[in-house]
Amino acid sequence: MSTITIVWVALPFFLGFIIYLIPKLDKPLAMCGTVVSAVYGVQLFIQQSPLKLQLLDNFGVILLVDSLTGYFILTNALVTIAVLIYCWPSNKTTFFYAQTLILHGSLNAAFACSDFISLYVALEVSGIAAFLLIAYPRTNKSIWVGLSYLFVSNVAMLFYLVGAALVYKANHSFDFVGLKQAPPEAIALIFLGLLVKGGVFVSGLWLPFTHSESETPVSALLSGVVVKTGILPLVRCALVVDEIDPIVRIFGVGTALLGVSYAVFEKDTKRMLAFHTISQLGFILAAPAVGGFYALSHGLVKSTLFLIAGALPSRNFKDLQQKPVDYNIWFALAIASLSISGFPLLVGFGAKVLTVKSLESWQAIAMNIAAVGTAISFAKFIFLPRGAKEGGSVHPTQPGFWPAVILLIVSLIVTNGIYYQAYTFENILKALATIGVGWLAYYFIFKKSTLKLPRVFEQFEHLVGTMSLILILIFWMALA
């Protein structure tokens, strides 16, 4: 088993470089690498018992795979497969596929490793690969989007490195467990790095610009899995070190409310989805023990939504009200939106029920408000006008669009079975009530609102400046 794990971590990198040598086989090789990790992810659920590997020595790489990791690995594999299918008929070059596979591999590595330095390396590799994918069209705008992403994440990772050094000083090891003995400034520095990388709370405000301005398949990858590299380590730290658990939960609630309050007022489809990603990350953090299932449901649904948003005739909700959407596309859009709002029969329902069950009492009200906010923001998609195919102004879809979206939607329905215990009368009633309240609020209040929230905080200098404030905030939280 341990050999399989090591091969599984190394395989995507190996194949990624092979692709450069045999450019003709780029798509099959990329697909092969991701399918292998999907199989590995499923296998983790069957096996159940966690596996901890300590390579080399006391200071070496520590890998930890259990069912929590399994959820993230499965999400990563499914989203990457869908993106590859989406891009298959397009004329993307070998470079794109090689980078996608390397990004996939680095994400797997980031999910599996359980010590601060391997995590640092995996996060930096994923950052570089993501930058190359964002900048792939090589327009000025895409380069700037990628550059600001790389810059912000690299600065955050420098703080993280200082934190890792402090952990080493206290324990003579980089294991996550060492955070227990580490001084509060170590916790503050490491958390700052992970919060920025994971797009949590105000330090995550780089996310809307980056995710909304990238190409459709890249946005799906970024929002579906790449942000979760920062989330899983936070969840892990919260699980191993009890003192950290409340900090993570507080950030979860704050993020969920912040993201959703931006999302309800947003007038642009892709930006709304990106803000909504921030709020969903909050749901994962709010109940660390069951975060894996929520991450799976969110990753699948958000990549579906980003792929569909790329097929809509416009990005502006106001324009979309004038232009009818193709029936088939609307149907897919409605399924995805219902799943994320927590409608029964889809995976979002089970995930929401499980998360709400594991909340502490002080979190419950805030998270329910956030759930209603989710319903409000996705009512914007569900109540778009539909039109027949011959309606004239129908936007042509990419040839790979339908297979990819169908794969994701089928997985949304199938993974619904993982937590079938959720189907009790009260839970279903509560989910429907939440959605109903959200839709009514949308219809009577938010449909007409013209309020535009300022974008000042998304400017580059403010993003870096906020880091220092968050650093002080976490320091005091860790000290308390």
Partner: protein, 111 residues
Amino acid sequence: MLEACVFATVLCGFFGIILKKNLVMKIISMDVMSTGVIAYYVLIASGDGLFTPIISDAPNRDYADPVPQAIILTAIVIGFSIQALMLVGVMKLGRDNPTLEISEIEKNNRV
């Protein structure tokens, strides 16, 4: 004392990233910051001693800790490759934004 100097370097770099207007200057400030971080690792490594840890017949001395040094080597390589990548991006951007002032670039590339 040394520790204070190291943190001063990190802070100088961080303030440079915030306060400098030019994109290239920001990248150089980031380099200053990462120099500070590297120095911190070296400082931690030398906590117990300064001698190079080599197995030999010589009597036991105060050895420097090899682990942080080995690790920071990885981080140096990563940092340098990221900087190279950023500078390539800046060269491309510089063609249409010759001043490379961040406010201008942000204005030109917003929606």
